[in-house]
């Protein structure tokens, strides 16, 4: 690895993020001393006094040490605003639940303006990572993937039961309903409810009203296995997930079966698919991120979605890919 001592900034979520630590360890080995900012510390106002302002020449200044310009920045993760749950609990019962919900969503929006402001005003030569707002639109990414000649499961966005019925018949009565943004979690104290990708039955549809909110339906692909890739510049690291064997994980492999985890092994994608993915990423101006694919029983590879946050820990660990080293290399060379 090249030895040099450039200013490197790593933006993470919290102090205990294994992937962040691993990359920092590779950098330390080569005499680099990366600076670090944790998104959680921005939120955690009780233990971190933080002030941002603008100097005479319109540069962002702060007491967080992340001023001036950096050689490279890795935006690994940011806060998930989980501290707002605490804030939510801090209201006493005299404040109506409705008002609390309003305040929390206002705070969330404000924090995300601040996040955007901070992240857009730190300067660097090389930037790795992604702004989910830019790259996280599932619908855009599906469209773009198709433009790059990747297969995608067909979908519709509709408010009409009649259109849905047509779509349902067209795809052999096998379609799924899926979140468009992030997974919806609802904590009922005793149980945590979360949305997974689910198959829709004829009975489900018959219970729908004739008109409903614009919703996203997708053709269900019978799969041989799933593929999770991590892409870094022009390298594609792939892992096959045999979720099909297990009924529990058949439609959504995130319903982990802890007794008997899905088999995860290194995979080698056809070069033409790798090329299409790399082109798709360069079109999005993304240097790194994760992609979910399906290998259908029809032997085709279907693009599902991009996770621009790019959690790569599992892929690296299961397949012994040296991704941590490669990221460190990218940041300091």
């Amino acid at each position: 690895m090249i030895k040099n001592h450039k200013r490197i900034l790593i933006i993470s979520k919290s102090t205990a993020d294994i992937s962040t630590e691993d990359v920092i360890d590779w950098l330390i080995l080569n005499g680099n001393r990366p600076e670090r900012l944790n998104g959680d510390s921005i939120e955690d106002f009780k233990s971190h006094g933080i002030t941002f302002s603008i100097n005479d020449v319109g540069e962002l200044i702060s007491n967080t040490g992340m001023t001036g310009s950096f050689y490279s920045i890795w935006l690994r993760r940011w806060s998930d605003y989980s501290s707002l749950i605490e804030t939510k609990r801090s209201f006493d019962n005299s404040v109506s639940a409705d008002l609390v919900a309003h305040i929390i969503s206002q705070l969330t929006r404000d924090l995300s303006v601040i996040e955007n402001f901070i992240l857009s005003n730190i300067r660097c030569v090389k930037f790795l990572g992604s702004d989910n707002k830019k790259h996280g639109n599932k619908l855009n990414n599906l469209l773009l993937a198709k433009k790059h000649n990747l297969e995608i499961p067909e979908f519709i966005l509709t408010t009409e039961k009649t259109s849905l019925n047509k779509f349902f018949e067209k795809y052999n009565k096998k379609i799924i309903l899926k979140d468009l943004s992030i997974t919806f979690n609802y904590d009922l104290g005793s149980n945590l409810y979360t949305t997974y990708t689910e198959l829709i039955t004829e009975e489900d549809i018959s219970n729908f009203p004739d008109k409903f909110y614009l919703s996203f339906f997708q053709e269900y692909i019978e799969k041989e296995y799933e593929i999770r890739c991590f892409i870094l510049e022009t390298k594609v690291y792939s892992m096959a997930i045999f979720s099909q064997i297990d009924d529990k994980t058949k439609v959504d492999c995130r319903k982990y079966n802890f007794q008997n985890p899905n088999r995860t092994v290194p995979y080698s994608l056809p070069l033409v698919i790798e090329k299409q993915l790399i082109n798709l990423f360069s079109d999005l101006k993304l240097l790194s991120g994760s992609v979910d694919l399906i290998k259908g029983l029809d032997k085709k590879y279907y693009f599902l979605e991009i996770n621009s946050d790019g959690q790569f820990g599992m892929v690296a660990e299961c397949c012994n890919y040296n991704i941590n080293y490669e990221i460190a290399q990218f940041l300091c060379s």
Binding site: D25, I28, L29, A240, F242, V265, P266, S268, C318, C319
Partner: protein, 335 residues
């Protein structure tokens, strides 16, 4: 069965051949399965030949038998039929880490307490990830806490604490320690009156009646100590799993490969751990892998065995405290 297809084991299910029998190590699920050596040979051929060629090559196996075998392995989720085995490459065996030292064992003592800052500074420079702190006889909790309080300034991620039971400390005192230092994965209290395990948060608190009076209590090889996971396997095929990237500090401050080994490479009183590490001979035993050791090299458990390079007559001999004979193949009682 479509005989144009291939049958392959998943790349994290690795057959290891022994003298008279073999195992498939399931490195993802941490388990193993006994199979015959003949089947290992057939499975090795399966990597490069489609099923019809296998049937052609092994004239003594008929299609029905082969299908039964494959379906059993599929049922156990160890392998699968596939059209193109090139899509499923083997796991790369290069295993690199940015740490000069992975494990450290410290025998807690007043001497080591005196040099504690130097020790932890060195461990931070070396990138040490895992530490084991031990006491063979009573050592006060206050002093143990001084060691624990230094941990958050280092890069250590896993901590195991092994202390001697004494009438002076209650179980509550140990629980309080685990609550205060969640970095401790396991706290073992030996020489206790009872055998008992409980979890405090994410940590394990283990009371054992076993008496650990010195470092000579180490080095037992048993099925219970098998480590079946990918990083361990990758280390084991290239290096010595007992001593590779390990450093130890004895109660008197002597720096050794392992507390059970006599040879010292200086003392914390006059040397830093980095200096000791770079002394001639310190890394000598690191490269002795199982495939180099007599008897171990034909043992089907060789890549999941914890090994021991301390209790033996010769460094290329199987551990003294291992009772397994791969030729019989069985565990014998040690006399």
């Amino acid at each position: 069965m479509n005989t144009n297809f291939y049958f392959t084991l998943f790349s994290n299910c690795i057959p290891v051949k022994g003298a008279v029998r073999s195992i498939i190590c399931d490195l993802q699920r941490g388990s193993y399965l006994f199979i015959s050596n003949d089947i290992v040979d057939v499975l090795a051929s399966c990597e490069t030949m489609p099923i019809f060629k296998i049937l052609d090559y092994y004239r003594n196996i008929n299609e029905v038998e082969l299908e039964i075998l494959f379906n059993q392995l599929i049922e156990l989720n160890l392998g699968h039929y596939c059209e193109n085995p090139d899509r499923f490459p083997k796991i790369n065996t290069q295993f690199n880490s940015p740490y000069e030292i992975l494990d450290c064992i410290i025998e807690l003592s007043d001497c080591n307490l005196k040099y504690i800052d130097n020790i932890f500074e060195s461990l931070t420079i070396l990138g040490c990830q895992t530490i084991e702190l031990r006491t063979y006889s009573h050592f006060s909790l206050e002093k143990i806490e001084i060691f624990l309080s230094k941990l958050n300034l280092t890069r250590i991620r896993n901590v195991e604490l092994i202390v001697c039971h004494s009438q002076l400390e209650t179980s509550n005192a140990f629980e309080a320690i685990l609550k205060k230092y969640p970095i401790i994965e396991t706290l073992v209290i030996h020489s206790a009156d009872i055998d008992n395990c409980k979890t405090i948060g994410a940590s394990n608190l283990i009371f054992t009646t076993q008496i650990i009076t010195s470092s000579s209590c180490c080095g037992n090889i048993s099925k219970e100590d098998f480590k079946i996971n990918l990083p361990f396997y990758l280390h084991g095929i290239k290096n010595n799993t007992c001593l590779y990237k390990k450093i130890s500090i004895k109660a008197n401050g002597d720096i050794t490969n392992c507390p059970s080994l006599e040879k010292t490479f200086g003392s914390v009183i006059e040397l830093s751990l980095e200096q000791a590490l770079n002394t001639t001979g310190f890394k000598e035993l690191w490269s002795i892998k199982k495939d180099d050791i007599n008897i171990c090299k034909v043992c089907e458990f060789r890549y999941i065995c914890s090994d021991c390079r301390a209790f033996l007559n010769d460094v290329y001999e199987k551990p003294f405290k291992c009772s397994y004979d791969p030729y019989s193949p069985s565990f014998h009682n040690l006399s």
